[in-house]
Structure formats: structure tokens, C-alpha cells
């Protein structure tokens, strides 16, 4: 430092500075932390595979036996329960990872680290975006692990697909996962910046996951639900996500648990559009919470 010519002020962000990549800083730090905690890393990668292995296989062996006697129209594409719920497991893992994705904000707030960030010239929206892409990255890794592991233990993902269709299928799944994950990451970030204690956040998240997960088509068809539950399920972002995953992983026309699923491309476009709207609403919520946030 001695003898250095000393420019007045920070030479970096001057003249308004191009801070367009501020979110990359938040992303970088979150990834540093993600790979640093080895146990957390391994468990977060192993957990979805275990769900599929234990819950999936157990349920599949029962459901497939129960539905074996249901007559199926000749020529239809019958899909086993493990394949059906494999899509649900990808969605569930994405939901959990995303809802907890904002918790780092709460820890930063409680440890005083958020003050460093909020007092910096970086636009606050970049915190939200940074948490967003870091959470999406984690969800991508998990989704790919589930797909690979699922195929290994017998889910019929991409069965009968050409290589091109498989690539399109994976890309489609990741696009749905990304949009859904962003929505819940924004929600999580918005809640986290407003809360005081991790326990409170945990409570809110648990409260949210239950209806979102079970009032969806993750584990069973929703057609037989009572009317009110059915309405909730149809508009549940979780259902929209799973519809997309099944379309890209299994195909537009298949039969599971005796129910015939037919997806037109328009249905899929609507599902994705629904997720986009959901994510925009959640971003607005997070943006509003961060603008209000006073951390001293």
C-alpha cells in the first residue's frame, strides 16, 4: 500500500459502474459454500436417489400389483408406477431444495453478513437473482442424478426415444425445473429476508410443502379428488411442473394406474406459461420484501 498512487475512491464501480453481473458474485459465494460442506453436499445429492429407491420401489411393487387386473385398451403405452412417480420425485426434490434455497439469506441476516451486501453498491435485485441461479443449479444437478439413477433402477424415462428426442426431453425437463425452482426460490428469499429466526422459516416452509406436494399429481392422478382439492391441484405449480416432466420424460400419450394421460403440445405450453406467471408473481413478492428490508 505504501507509495501507491492513490486514486480517489473506488476505481471499479465509478460512473454508475456496470453492475449487470452482480448476481454472479452471490452465485459464486453460494456455490463455494455448497461444495464446501461435504456432508451436506453428498446428502443433498443422495437423498432424492434414496427416495426413488425406497419409497418408489415399495410403492411401485404394490400399485403395479393392484392395477395389474385393470383392462387396458390394446395398443396403449402402459407405464409402470415407478416411472410415473419418478417425475414426482424430481418435482419434490426441486420443491424442497428451492424452498430452503433462501435460508442462506436468513443466516446472513442473523450473522450480520447481509449488512455488507446491502451497504454495497450492488442492486438488491441481484441478491434475488443470485440466489435464484444458484438454487436452479443445485436443482439441475439433483434432477439429472434422479434421471440417471432412475433409469438404472428401472424407470422407463425416455424409453423408445430417439437420441434427438432424448436431448429435447432432458432440455424440456430442465426448462420446467428451472422455472418452477426460480418461483419457489424467490418465495423463499422473500420470506427469509422478512423473518427473524430459522425456526420460523422452517415452520413456514413445512406448512407450505405439505399442501403443495400432496395436492398435486406427484404420487397419484388428481381426477378422483373432491372438487375443491381438484381445483387447487390443477392450478398448483407442482402439478404444472410434473405435467411438463411427464410429457418430456414419458411422452404425450400413456396409461398409468389405469388412467389414460394425453397431453397436447398446447397443454404443455399452458403449463409452462402458468409457471412463468407464478415465478413473476414470486419475483415481485421478493422484490417488494427486499426493498422494504432494513438490516442494521
Amino acid at each position: 500500500m505504501k507509495g501507491q498512487p492513490r486514486p480517489a475512491g473506488c476505481s471499479c464501480a465509478r460512473e454508475g459502474g456496470n453492475m449487470a453481473y452482480g448476481f454472479m458474485t452471490i452465485f459464486w459465494r453460494d456455490m463455494v459454500r455448497f461444495v464446501r460442506f461435504k456432508t451436506l453436499l453428498v446428502s443433498s445429492l443422495l437423498q432424492p436417489a434414496l427416495w426413488l429407491a425406497f419409497f418408489g420401489i415399495a410403492m411401485a411393487s404394490n400399485f403395479d400389483r393392484l392395477t395389474a387386473g385393470i383392462p387396458v385398451a390394446p395398443g396403449s403405452h402402459v407405464v409402470g408406477y415407478l416411472t410415473f412417480m419418478g417425475a414426482g420425485i424430481i418435482a419434490m426434490t426441486t420443491l424442497f431444495t428451492s424452498l430452503f434455497g433462501g435460508i442462506v439469506i436468513l443466516f446472513d441476516k442473523n450473522w450480520g453478513l447481509m449488512r455488507e451486501i446491502l451497504a454495497s453498491p450492488m442492486n438488491r435485485n441481484h441478491i434475488i437473482f443470485g440466489i435464484g441461479i444458484s438454487g436452479v443449479t443445485k436443482s439441475f444437478i439433483q434432477a439429472i442424478i434422479i434421471m440417471v439413477f432412475g433409469i438404472l433402477i428401472g424407470t422407463a424415462f425416455f424409453a423408445g426415444f430417439s437420441p434427438v428426442m432424448t436431448v429435447v426431453g432432458v432440455a424440456g425437463i430442465l426448462a420446467f425445473v428451472a422455472m418452477f425452482a426460480l418461483g419457489f426460490l424467490f418465495l423463499s428469499a422473500g420470506i427469509a429476508i422478512s423473518m427473524e429466526s430459522p425456526e420460523g422459516l422452517q415452520g413456514v416452509i413445512t406448512l407450505l410443502t405439505m399442501p403443495i406436494f400432496f395436492a398435486s399429481n406427484a404420487l397419484y392422478p388428481i381426477d378422483t379428488f373432491p372438487e375443491i382439492l381438484k381445483v387447487i391441484s390443477v392450478y398448483n405449480p407442482m402439478t404444472l411442473l410434473i405435467t411438463g416432466i411427464r410429457y418430456f420424460a414419458i411422452g404425450p400419450d400413456f396409461v398409468t394406474l389405469g388412467k389414460h394421460y394425453v397431453y397436447a403440445p398446447m397443454d404443455i405450453a399452458w403449463a409452462f406459461g402458468g409457471l412463468v406467471i407464478f415465478t413473476l408473481i414470486m419475483f415481485t413478492f421478493a422484490w417488494w420484501r427486499f426493498r422494504k428490508a432494513v438490516v442494521t
Binding site: F37, E116, V295, T296
Partner: protein, 335 residues
């Protein structure tokens, strides 16, 4: 020790009629002050006096409610972005991610402020050398001692070559040797040209470091000046007395021309005198002897910053239990 206003006259922090309330409680009550470029300015006050509220407004973490404030030529309300680019901050509590390494802490900070890669890396090397943490470069911050953590935070505050460095009680919780070493760093940084805004409730720290001091209590600035000027307001010397009849003694002595003020203490009283205390003492002894008041203790000393502080805030340490209405807000006000 007194490095009076030698460092230029250009104002770098200007605060006018600043007010801030939490509900009904006025944490900062109509304060105004100016810090000049290149100075070390100390904000002194008991817990809950409003120091941290004022600092949080200046660093743009709290929005300004009433009054005006500008830092490095930028208005904190109109141009908060420019203010943020011009300042460095060392927060009151340690704000380091325990699980990041020393290098990562600085790298993160440089990236937050959008420093270009080469400049950022070079600056990290310089600063690690300055605060003598090169050997700890790849260690996680949780393994650092309290002093090392503070040094790392000071390095972080300096990353972007700020024009003003805010230090909010930088030596709180450090042992005496580490504190003194910290003072050397702070002085070194200041000599490089960085203006320093310091809050502290260590009198010796303020006395040792500051070009200018303002004492704040109950949200108001009670006095400002160099440490020499502040001590001079108490007179040249302080004579402390304990007698057999303190009340009578005070009544007899209070009209002596040499005595500026009398402070009654629990067992005795202090005379703040305008003249050389050694010359005033014999007269006092005569007066007491003539009135048959027995003198049990006498003591002469130069006013210290502690005396200044006690004189102007009325307390050695804020008696938190005595003021429940304030106590409720101590956490917020103390920030």
C-alpha cells in the same frame, strides 16, 4: 498527541439537523456536524446514545427521516449508490462468513463492488500484507483470533480504496495489546489519506486517535472539539476532596474565582479549576481549616477524556436499569 485541524479544510461528511426516531423514541435528535477530509473523527457516547443510528444513516443502511446528510460530496438520500461506492465499513460486530477463507472474504467483497479481476487480486495481496494475514490466506475465518478477524475486516473495508472508512467500535472485545496494534493500523490507513469516522466508547481510543471528537448523549451532540479543547472545557486541573462536611465545604468554596465548576460525588466532590491547581490548593486548605472542616483526602489531576465524558454525559457507564423507557430501545438505539 493532538493533531489538530492540520489536514485541510474541505468537508467530506456534512450532517445538518439530522433526526431519527424509532416509534416515539428519538434516537438521534437534531444533530449537525462536519468532518473534514483526511481527519480521524470520533463519535463518542454511552450505549444507546444514537451513535450507531447516525452511522447507519451515513452508510445508507437506514433511510434518512429528517435533516440532511452527505458523504464524499453525495447526498445519502439522493445519491445512495455514489455514497456506497465512496465508503468502506467495519461493522460493530464481526461480519465474516465463518466458512469462507480469508482470501474468499476479500474476493467476495471486491466482486460485490465490481472491481476488475487484476486490480482486485493485486489489492488483496497488498492488503493481506498490510494487515499481516498472508499466512492465513487459505484458512477459514472461524479459525482466526479476534484480532485477526478485525484486521481482516479492516482490510475488507479498505478493499475499494474508500474515501471515508467507517469504523463502528473497531476494538470492542479485543485485548489491550491487540487494541494498540489496531490503532497503529488505523493511523497508518489515515496517513495514506483516508478519512476515518470512528465510533467508540473507549475514551483512551478516542483521545489517542482523533483529530476531532463529538460526544453524543440521548441523541444530541453535547460537545465537539479536539481532545485538547474538550479537556480544557473542564479547566486546567481537577482537585478532588473528601471532607468531614462536604456540603459546608462546597458552599464555602463555590464562589472562589479560580473555581469554574463543582461536581459532587458520592463521598466527596471535584473542583474544576481555571488556574494551576498546585497554586490554588493552599488557599482551599486555609479556607477549610478556618471553618474547622476536616480534610480526609485530597488529590490533584489533569482532566482526562474520561473526566470529559463523565462530565458531559453525567455517567461513567449508562445505567440501563434506571431508564426503562430507554431500555426498551437499547438494542435498536445501540446499533
Amino acid at each position: 498527541m493532538q493533531r489538530s485541524e492540520k489536514k485541510g479544510e474541505e468537508p467530506i461528511i456534512v450532517v445538518e439537523n439530522l433526526e431519527h426516531s424509532y416509534g416515539d423514541f428519538k434516537a438521534v435528535d437534531n444533530i449537525s456536524f462536519t468532518v473534514k477530509k483526511g481527519q480521524i473523527f470520533s463519535f463518542l457516547g454511552p450505549n444507546g446514545a444514537g451513535k450507531s443510528t447516525a452511522i447507519n444513516i451515513l452508510i445508507t443502511l437506514l433511510s434518512l427521516q429528517k435533516g440532511k446528510a452527505s458523504v464524499a460530496g453525495f447526498d445519502v438520500t439522493k445519491d445512495p449508490q455514489k455514497v456506497r461506492e465512496s465508503i468502506g465499513i467495519v461493522f460493530q460486530d464481526i461480519t465474516l462468513d465463518r466458512d469462507m477463507t480469508v482470501w474468499e472474504i476479500l474476493e467476495f467483497h471486491g466482486r460485490l463492488y465490481n472491481m476488475p479481476d487484476t486490480e482486485r487480486r493485486k489489492r488483496i495481496d497488498e492488503l493481506l500484507e498490510l494487515v499481516q494475514l498472508e499466512a492465513k490466506r487459505n484458512e477459514r475465518t472461524k479459525s482466526l483470533s479476534g484480532g485477526m478477524k478485525r484486521r481482516l475486516e479492516i482490510a475488507r473495508g479498505l478493499m475499494t480504496r474508500p474515501r471515508v472508512l467507517f469504523l463502528d467500535e473497531p476494538t470492542i472485545g479485543l485485548d489491550p495489546q491487540t487494541r494498540m496494534r489496531m490503532w497503529d493500523y488505523i493511523k497508518g490507513v489515515n496517513e495514506e489519506g483516508t478519512t476515518i469516522f470512528l465510533t467508540t466508547h473507549y475514551m483512551d481510543e478516542a483521545d489517542h486517535l482523533s483529530d476531532r471528537i463529538s460526544i453524543i448523549d440521548h441523541g444530541k451532540i453535547v460537545i465537539s472539539g479536539t481532545s485538547w479543547e474538550l479537556k480544557n472545557t473542564l479547566g486546567r486541573d481537577i482537585i478532588y476532596l473528601e471532607t468531614s462536611d462536604n456540603d459546608a465545604a462546597v458552599r464555602l468554596l463555590k464562589d472562589l474565582p479560580a473555581i469554574r465548576n463543582i461536581k459532587v460525588k458520592s463521598k466527596g466532590f471535584s473542583l474544576l479549576v481555571n488556574e494551576d491547581g498546585t497554586k490554588v490548593m493552599p488557599g482551599i486548605l486555609d479556607i477549610l481549616r478556618n471553618s474547622s472542616i476536616e480534610l480526609t483526602t485530597i488529590n490533584l489531576k489533569k482532566p482526562s477524556m474520561d473526566d470529559v465524558f463523565v462530565h458531559y454525559t453525567g455517567k461513567e457507564l449508562r445505567d440501563e436499569g434506571a431508564a426503562p423507557a430507554r431500555g426498551m430501545f437499547l438494542r435498536k438505539g445501540g446499533r
